[in-house]
Each structure stands twice: as structure tokens, then as C-alpha cells.
């Protein structure tokens, strides 16, 4: 399966980005890594150009909301995105925040899977389960 990944917005956590790429490849995914400092529009466009099955956006600096809240608007512009799995993970808020508040908020923005302060392997296990169940 093809995955487009990268770190959104003004976030420059390059080590985390590299670890995500390595972990995805180890699990057999074909990875298109857009790297750090990537805009949401670029993620969507990369999914279109690669016909990817999954978009996995990571955000570590807590500023994901400002960069990701227009996902549904962008998704609505392309018809071919209806089968794509949209996943967001990392540290999704600045300061203290409850997972039960954050997850519904980002799901409302258009993400299928949202992981706040969950370790990478757990997140990827959940992704694989979700993809399997979707088939």
C-alpha cells in the first residue's frame, strides 16, 4: 500500500519524520515522504499524484490545528479521495489537553484516525487494523 507522509506546517521535527518513514517501510508500505514544513494542500496533491491509499500527517510542535482544520474543504475538491485513509498523529496540542477533546475535534476536520501522544508503533498497529477492517 502507498502512504504519503510528512510533518505539517511550520514544524521541523525531522528526526521524528525519518523514524516514521523507516517504521512504515519496515511494515511493507511504499512511502512518499514529503518531509518537514509541508502544507496541507501539498499532502493532498501528493496523494492525488501517487494515488496513495493513506495520508499520514505528523505534527510534533502542537500546532496541528491551525494547519489541518481545512482538510474537509480540500478533500471535497477531489472526487478520487473517498477511499483514502486520513491519519494524524503526534503531539496535537500546545500545553495540557485531553485526548477525549482532541480526537473528536480532528475527526470533525476530516481525519479517520487521530493519535495524540501515542507511541509510533501503537499508532501504526491501529492503522493496520483499521485498513484491514475497511477491506
Amino acid at each position: 500500500m502507498k502512504v504519503v507522509t510528512g510533518v505539517v506546517g511550520n514544524d521541523i521535527h525531522v528526526v521524528a519524520n525519518r523514524l516514521i518513514e523507516i517504521s512504515l517501510q519496515a511494515r511493507g508500505f511504499e512511502v512518499f515522504n514529503l518531509g518537514v514544513n509541508t502544507y496541507l494542500e501539498e499532502f493532498i496533491d501528493a496523494v492525488i499524484e501517487t494515488n496513495a491509499d493513506i495520508l499520514l500527517i505528523s505534527s510534533l510542535n502542537g500546532e496541528a490545528e491551525g494547519w489541518c482544520r481545512e482538510l474537509n474543504i480540500l478533500k471535497s475538491k477531489y472526487k478520487s479521495l473517498k477511499d483514502v485513509v486520513f491519519m494524524l498523529g503526534g503531539n496535537l496540542a500546545v500545553g495540557e489537553a485531553k485526548t477525549e477533546d482532541i480526537v473528536p475535534k480532528f475527526k470533525n476536520y476530516g481525519f479517520d484516525l487521530v493519535f495524540h501522544q501515542v507511541d509510533l508503533n501503537t499508532g501504526l498497529d491501529e492503522l493496520e487494523k483499521y485498513v484491514k477492517a475497511k477491506k
Partner: protein, 393 residues
């Protein structure tokens, strides 16, 4: 180094350079370019063999191009970039998913470029494309998208040229083959234009577009001027304004061979498009402040004087910097606060003095970027920049 004769044919001037000097001549528009050149420069032309004469030209208007791609961040952006750096004028870009609702240009298009998706993807294009192309009047069409769709497209589009995908499987740009195709098409176009075609009577070398040559020059610019990186080169000519810029001035994920890109502002020329320049100036929110800074009033736009021409040139510099600054977020945004040098070339260097350019750029930096620090300004007053790139393979 072997002595060579270098010639640049512009829309208003032509320039002739060899190891000893550079000559510049206003073109006589009542004459064929070749006849005009022979008349004004016969002495120097006689000294050189055909294989030692190198010519570039921006005088034939360039090729008009329409690009159809599937996303703004990749296929359209990559093809646009390659076309600009090949010296081509882009008249429009179309996002494929909107093609059914896009107006078909009535002008004849010299070349249509179709692109989209990496090679493992297929079934991107369908009848919508053919319906659109049926309405379009074009001379050449090239496909540089995913490999899997090429057979289907070539079966349905007459005379389709198929080249390798400009997007590789890592989503990086592959520019070589399309750049070569567009450069050759430009050459073929020149061969068809009587004015330029006749110039092959004095050269055995290929005639390239001037912007293509300037792009080749940029990595060598330090051998001629004291230019610090990152820099922009602004060529304000008779009909158009070009900006060539170091790619470190943009936030971009594009991985490519060249360190420099090019933008063209078709409506910011000073002689042929005076009205559009004035229109752009009048619509700029800073225009009155700017005119006041230059100690003139709006009436200057109606005047035919040296002062009016100088003001227009200064306005052109301001407007082009404004268009690529953060003050104009809808357009490409160059990080002008990081800029170390601005090199100016073209007709503008014949009209403005160093201090007049410094003054307007200083105004721009203070007003738009709120900075009292401005980049180093270099005027290529002798029109020499193109001479560096013209003989580079």
C-alpha cells in the same frame, strides 16, 4: 579563450559583443533584423566565421504554452517551472479536474503540455481531456505524465509527442527531456520566423531564447559582478519583465538540478505595454505614496518626457518586487528579507542611474518590508550578463 562574436536580439535593442567591446543599437523596425544588423555592424560581422558567432533572441515573442496537470503542487508547478526556464511564455495552466468548466483560449497555442501522476498510477485522463483539446487551437502537444496513460492518450490525440514523466517515483522533478523538447521547439519556431531565420546566414550555432541563456549565466555571474547569494536578476525590457531568482528565496519541496528559477510578468514591460504598467500602478495601494516619494503627481502618466519614462521604470521595479513580496500573498512569495543582491538588466539600465534604482528599492524595503537594510544593487548597464551563458553547453 577563443574570440567569439556574441549577439543578443531584443525587442527594442540588439547588442553585439566580442572580446574587445560591446555595441548596442536601437532596432529599426522598418527593417528586417538581419538587414538592420548588417547595416549597423557590417565591420565586426565580417571579422568572424559562422561557427564563432553565437546568437540569442527574445525578439520573436517566444512560444505560447498551455499546461494541463492534475495538481498545483506537483505536475502543474513542475511543468510551469520547466517551461519558464526553457524561455517559454505560459498563457494559462489548467487543473485537470476543473477542465470541463475552463474557458478555452481563442488564441493559437504553440504548445500544449499534459502532465500528471507518477509512473505506477494509471487512468488519470479520460474523454474530458479530448473534448477540451477538440475545442483548442494548438500547433504542438506533448505528454510528460504517468507512463501507464501514454498509450491511451496517443491513441486518442493526434501527433502527441510522448516524453518521460517529469515527476519521478520519489515525487521529484525530472526536467531534462521536456526542457530539451521546449528549447528545440523554440528553435524550430525561430527557424519559421523570417526575421530570425535570416540570421542563420551569419551563424552555424543554434539560436537560443535569451531567458534560457540568462538562466545558464546565473551560476557564473560572480565572474562578472560582485553578487552575493541569494540574489535576484530583474530584466525589465520593452515588452516583458523577467525575474530570475535563487531558489533559496522560496519555501519549496521541489528537488531539481538548477539553483535558479524564472518568472515572467507579461504585463510589466515599459514600452510596448505602457498602459498595462500604468494600470497596475494605479491599482496599487501604495501608488500615491510612491508618486509623492518620487516628487511627481498622477499627471506624469500622461506625459511624454524623460522624467515620465524614469518614473515608469521606477514604478516597474517597485511593482515587480511588490508582486513577489509577502504583501502580495496570492502570488509566488520570495523571501526578500534574505536577499543579498539585486541585479538589474535590460532597457531599464539605459534609463535609470544607480542612485535612482537605489532610491526606489530603498523605498520598497522601508515601506513594504519595514526594513532600513536593503540589498546590494548592481546595474548591468552594458547589457553584458547574457554574454556569460551564450557559449555554455
Amino acid at each position: 579563450m577563443k574570440n567569439r562574436l556574441l549577439i543578443d536580439i531584443g525587442s527594442t535593442y540588439f547588442k553585439v559583443s566580442d572580446a574587445e567591446n560591446i555595441q548596442q543599437h536601437f532596432r529599426d523596425f522598418n527593417k528586417d533584423i538581419y538587414d538592420d544588423l548588417k547595416y549597423k555592424c557590417s565591420d565586426i560581422l565580417e571579422k568572424y566565421n559562422k561557427d564563432d558567432v553565437y546568437i540569442c533572441s527574445s525578439a520573436n515573442g517566444g512560444l505560447s504554452t498551455l499546461i494541463i496537470g492534475i495538481t498545483n503542487s506537483f505536475s502543474l508547478k513542475y511543468a510551469t517551472n520547466i517551461a519558464f526556464n526553457s524561455g517559454i511564455n505560459i498563457i494559462d495552466t489548467i487543473l485537470y479536474q476543473d477542465i470541463e468548466n475552463t474557458t478555452v483560449p481563442s488564441d493559437l497555442i504553440d504548445v500544449v503540455i499534459i502532465t500528471g501522476a507518477i509512473d505506477s498510477v494509471s487512468d488519470i485522463f479520460d474523454e474530458k481531456l479530448f473534448n477540451y483539446l477538440n475545442e483548442l487551437n494548438y500547433s504542438n502537444i506533448v505528454y510528460v505524465g504517468n507512463k501507464n496513460d501514454s498509450k491511451y492518450l496517443s491513441e486518442n490525440i493526434e501527433n502527441l509527442v510522448i516524453l518521460p514523466n517529469i515527476i519521478n517515483n520519489k515525487l521529484q522533478v525530472n526536467e531534462l527531456q521536456l526542457k530539451e523538447y521546449l528549447t528545440n521547439l523554440y528553435q524550430a519556431d525561430i527557424m519559421g520566423k523570417e526575421d530570425i531565420k535570416n540570421l542563420y546566414a551569419i551563424t552555424d550555432n543554434q539560436i537560443y531564447s535569451t531567458p534560457y541563456i540568462v538562466n545558464k549565466t546565473l551560476p557564473l555571474i560572480n565572474t562578472m559582478f560582485k553578487v552575493a547569494d541569494p540574489f535576484i536578476l530583474v530584466d525589465i525590457g520593452g515588452a516583458t519583465t523577467d525575474i530570475h531568482y535563487s531558489t533559496t528565496l522560496i519555501n519549496d519541496n521541489m528537488v531539481k538540478d538548477s539553483e535558479y528559477d524564472r518568472l515572467v510578468f507579461k504585463k510589466l514591460g515599459v514600452f510596448k505595454s505602457k498602459e498595462s504598467l500604468i494600470f497596475a500602478a494605479k491599482n496599487n495601494e501604495f501608488v500615491y505614496e510612491l508618486l509623492s516619494f518620487l516628487n511627481v503627481t498622477e499627471h506624469i502618466f500622461e506625459e511624454q518626457s524623460d522624467k515620465a519614462l524614469k518614473t515608469l521604470m521606477q514604478l516597474a521595479i517597485f511593482l515587480v518586487l511588490y508582486k513577489v513580496s509577502k504583501a502580495h500573498p496570492l502570488y509566488i512569495n520570495l523571501k526578500l528579507d534574505l536577499l543579498k543582491s539585486v541585479v538589474l538588466t535590460g532597457g531599464i539600465t539605459k534609463v535609470l542611474k544607480q542612485e535612482e534604482v537605489e532610491s526606489i528599492i530603498g523605498f520598497f524595503y522601508k515601506k513594504i518590508l519595514s526594513s532600513s537594510v536593503k540589498p546590494n544593487i548592481i546595474l548591468d548597464s552594458n547589457y553584458e550578463i547574457w554574454t556569460l551563458g551564450i557559449t555554455q553547453k
